[in-house]
């Protein structure tokens, strides 16, 4: 059963990996998502890795994750009959989201102007790598291109080595999230005046929006940050942000005041402290941030980082995390999927859900559950990602009223 929150609204999902998360978010909120796939299936079904390394249209982990809760119909947009049936569908929908190359849908009669003329309520959201106006509007795209263009890649990695992206590419997910928000912003006034509109999401801008406080640095402070591995790239003094421990790594925000004091008290307790630490006034000591760091400050920072790392090397991630919670420190274990899977907090909140995939991949699969807990209209996640064209009959016959015979003909001529 889906959430009551946006029950009764319907979206046509024409995205690939540039926006699959959009429909997933709206599905979680109760919107009926109809994914339109070309014969042979959407390209997200071919994104590796595959479940148990066995390729197949229902086995891409990306599709399993971000196709969840959606319905699937097939339509061949290269045929007039395929386009006609998608037009019919768009007339029955509240939202359409797409991520084709700019202008493609216009060129086949499925652009905003054509569809809005028939269905003025339609909110038509296009996800683009570089917007719809600039010199890069038709650029070839891959996720790493947006990561580079939006400025996050430059900041990831070590000096002297290449800039990097994450092992699970993120740009398409940010754009999908933005498309969900933007579509709903447009939805709100539409529900009082009945008029939809066109929305264009810019993926490069979405990545710029992950840069926290960096954008204005060159203008206000006269310089930009550089990638610096485990060290803080932030203004002022180089501070170590990630420490090694016995069985992994610990992320640390060495702030000012009481949290630093609490951490150093622990270092002293464990015998890794230095005499000066015991009489330090941590409340006002902010080298490199509000005041120039002196050579003495730098030597103190080295003492602290040295003591912290030595102490951490005597402990596991779990031991450090337990103490972190007790002492209210600004530390976090660098968790792997294994740590996340057995995390007591996620368990206590019932975060993970088991979703039945026996008829597609022969097993139950455990997935991240609701992204938020809503008191009145809870998000429920209980529908696996669809097989290719699984809902052709339900949608084409049930929703659009086509006869079974016509369906067979459409299938025979390759339109669906």
């Amino acid at each position: 059963m889906s959430s009551e929150l946006l029950k009764g609204f319907r979206m046509l999902d024409l995205t690939d990996e540039k926006g699959a998360l959009c429909g997933k978010i709206l599905a979680d909120l109760g919107v009926e998502i109809i994914k339109v796939e070309p014969p042979g299936g959407c390209s997200t079904r071919r994104i590796p890795p595959f479940l148990e390394d066995e390729a197949g249209p229902d086995r891409s982990l990306y599709h399993i994750a971000y196709g969840a809760g959606k319905k699937s119909v097939t339509a061949n947009l290269e045929t007039a009959d395929g386009r006609a049936i998608v037009t019919e569908l768009a007339n029955k929908c509240d939202f359409l989201v797409e991520s084709f190359n700019l202008g493609y849908l216009d060129s086949i009669g499925l652009g905003y102007d054509a569809l809005a003329e028939l269905n003025p309520r339609l909110i038509y959201t296009s996800i683009t790598p570089f917007g719809d106006k600039g010199p890069g509007k038709n650029y070839k795209w891959a996720d790493i291109i947006s990561w580079a263009a939006g400025g996050m890649m430059y900041l990831m990695g070590e000096e002297g080595k290449p800039p990097i992206q994450m092992s699970l590419p993120q740009a398409g997910l940010h754009a999908g999230g933005e498309a969900a928000v933007a579509s709903l912003i447009a939805h709100y006034p539409r529900q009082s005046d009945g008029l939809g509109q066109r929305v264009v999401v810019n993926m490069q801008a979405c990545i710029v929006w992950t840069l926290m406080n960096e954008q204005a640095m060159p203008i206000l402070h006269g310089d930009h940050l550089r990638r610096s591995g485990v060290y803080s790239g932030s203004l002022g003094v180089r501070r170590k942000m990630v420490f090694q421990c016995k069985d992994g790594y610990i992320s640390s925000v060495i702030g000012v005041g009481p949290t630093t004091k609490n951490l150093i008290d622990w270092v002293i307790e464990k015998g890794f402290g230095v005499e000066w630490m015991k009489t330090m006034d941590w409340g006002t000591w902010t080298p490199g941030l509000f005041m120039q760091a002196t050579p003495e400050d730098l030597s103190r920072i080295a003492d602290m980082e040295n003591g912290i790392e030595k102490m951490f090397m005597t402990m596991t991630k779990d031991e450090i995390y337990r103490e972190t919670l007790k002492r209210r420190l600004l530390l976090a274990p660098v968790m792997t999927e294994a740590d996340i899977a057995r995390d007591v907090q996620l368990k206590a909140r019932g975060f993970f859900v088991k979703v039945d995939h026996t008829d597609t991949v022969g097993r139950m699969l455990t997935m991240p559950g609701p992204f938020a807990k809503l008191s009145e209209t809870p998000i429920t996640i209980d529908h696996r990602a669809p097989r290719i064209g699984e809902h052709n009959e339900e949608i084409y016959c049930g929703l659009l009223g086509h006869g079974r015979e016509q369906m067979s003909t459409l299938r025979a001529i390759g339109a669906i």
């Binding site: 990831m156 800039p163 992950t210 792997t336």
Partner: protein, 406 residues
């Protein structure tokens, strides 16, 4: 027709730092009236974080704070004072949404939690967002997005390879994942309230929200016990795939990102560089993927003499995905962001004109915009306490003397 999507919507915003303010900013930039309630006992830490106007620290000088708080009003109270609470309770009936992002006990301690507020306003929507959610043994965990990003696996999948230290994303990464999810739920809740008259409470754990950007790896682990781990720029689909060094510019090393998906693109790339793949080492996509390390060296030698943006234009003209690895100076000069009208200079009461990120989307009929710069501390005290609550100047002065309003 409304000029803005959320005209007439009122938000009483106690949230601070990243996720909460970025979420309410979506509403504020789209016409909602958002009043940031800032407490002297819990001053938003971003107010004292860089970058600062002219490099000078100060609570009204931070662009970090300003970027996340456009189009909002600001009032200042000491919420630990009973009289401050009284003022807040008089504002609650005005609000459609109350938002907060403290560790869970703060709002309870002030008697401003959902149960208390709902008693005054029965159809209230309220969201709470914190590191790990309102319930569970680790609910009180304090922290920032740097830590939530480590908890939710992003640090683990960032690096050059297993056994090497993480090379994490810059900043508080999860603070920029959660708002898009939270805001979607929030707008949906507003729409639901308009249809049914029912408000509700939204509890978002930044950690849980962020895990949705890692779903494929989580599902894989539960099913097979495999972890993704750090893999540099390795890809199972594209080769070459990565950042390749171009000609230095001054003291700066410059790089270009390239991704090649198939034989045709590979041929086009080789043509741009005027080289042939003579010995056939890289003649198929599978060979290229399997000999990634050698391939990276080969491509790195080709790009080294080129200027990154010129090479981008050539490769893209030949149908090869490429873009310079841009730093923040580049971003402010980027012609695609400029064509999208992304950057804006707004006049801030203390900072004067300063640079703001614009919206990441555009709408044809009811576009949002950065309606005003972020407020300085207490900028709208008079407007709210006198204008909305009808306090007299004398009453306000008295409350200032008692350190209720500051």
């Amino acid at each position: 027709m409304s000029r803005y999507a959320f005209e007439g919507i009122h938000v009483l915003d106690f949230s601070w730092v990243g996720v909460g303010p970025i979420s309410t900013k979506y509403l504020a930039d789209n016409g909602a009236e958002v009043i940031r309630v800032e407490s002297v006992s819990r001053l938003d830490v971003l107010r004292i974080a860089p970058p600062w106007k002219d490099g000078q620290p100060g609570p009204n000088n931070s662009q970090f704070f300003a970027s996340f708080n456009t189009s909002k009003k600001g009032i200042t109270l000491d919420l630990s004072k009973p009289k401050a609470r009284e003022l807040i309770l008089r504002l609650v009936p005005w609000a459609d949404i109350v938002s907060e992002s403290f560790t869970p006990k703060a709002m309870r301690n002030w008697g401003l939690d959902f149960e208390h507020l709902r008693a005054i306003k029965s159809d209230l929507i309220m969201f709470s967002t914190c590191m790990q959610g309102q319930t569970g043994p680790n609910a009180m965990y304090p922290g920032f997005g740097q830590l939530a990003a480590a908890l939710s696996g992003f640090y683990y999948i960032s690096g050059y390879g297993e056994g090497q230290p993480p090379a994490p994303p810059y900043g508080a990464y999860s603070d920029f994942v959660a708002p898009r999810l939270l805001t979607s739920a929030l707008i949906a809740a507003l729409d639901y309230k308009r249809r049914t008259g029912k408000g509700q409470y939204i509890d978002m754990s930044q950690y849980e929200a962020a895990l949705h950007n890692l779903s494929p790896a989580i599902i894989d682990y539960f099913a097979t016990g495999r972890t993704l781990g750090p893999r540099g720029n390795e890809s199972h689909r594209y080769a070459p795939h990565g950042a390749y060094r171009c000609a230095d510019e001054g003291s700066e090393d410059r790089w270009i990102a390239i991704a090649v998906a198939n034989d045709q693109e590979w041929k086009s790339m080789c043509q741009v560089f005027g080289v042939a793949d003579a010995d056939g080492r890289f003649s198929t996509q599978l060979l290229r993927i399997e000999h990634r390390a050698e391939l990276d060296k080969f491509v790195g030698n080709l790009t080294r003499g080129h200027q990154a943006s010129e090479l981008t234009a050539k490769l893209q003209a030949a149908g090869v995905a490429a873009y310079p690895v841009q730093n923040c100076v580049d971003l402010h000069q980027d012609e695609n962001l400029e064509a999208f009208d992304f950057w804006h200079w707004l006049e801030h009461k203390q900072m004067g004109p300063s640079p703001y990120e614009g919206l990441s989307h555009r709408m044809s009929r009811t576009p949002g915009e950065l309606r005003s710069a972020a407020p300085v501390l207490g900028q709208h005290n008079d407007e709210v306490f006198r204008g909305m609550l009808g306090l007299t100047r004398e009453e306000i002065e008295q409350l200032q003397k008692e350190n209720v309003i500051f």
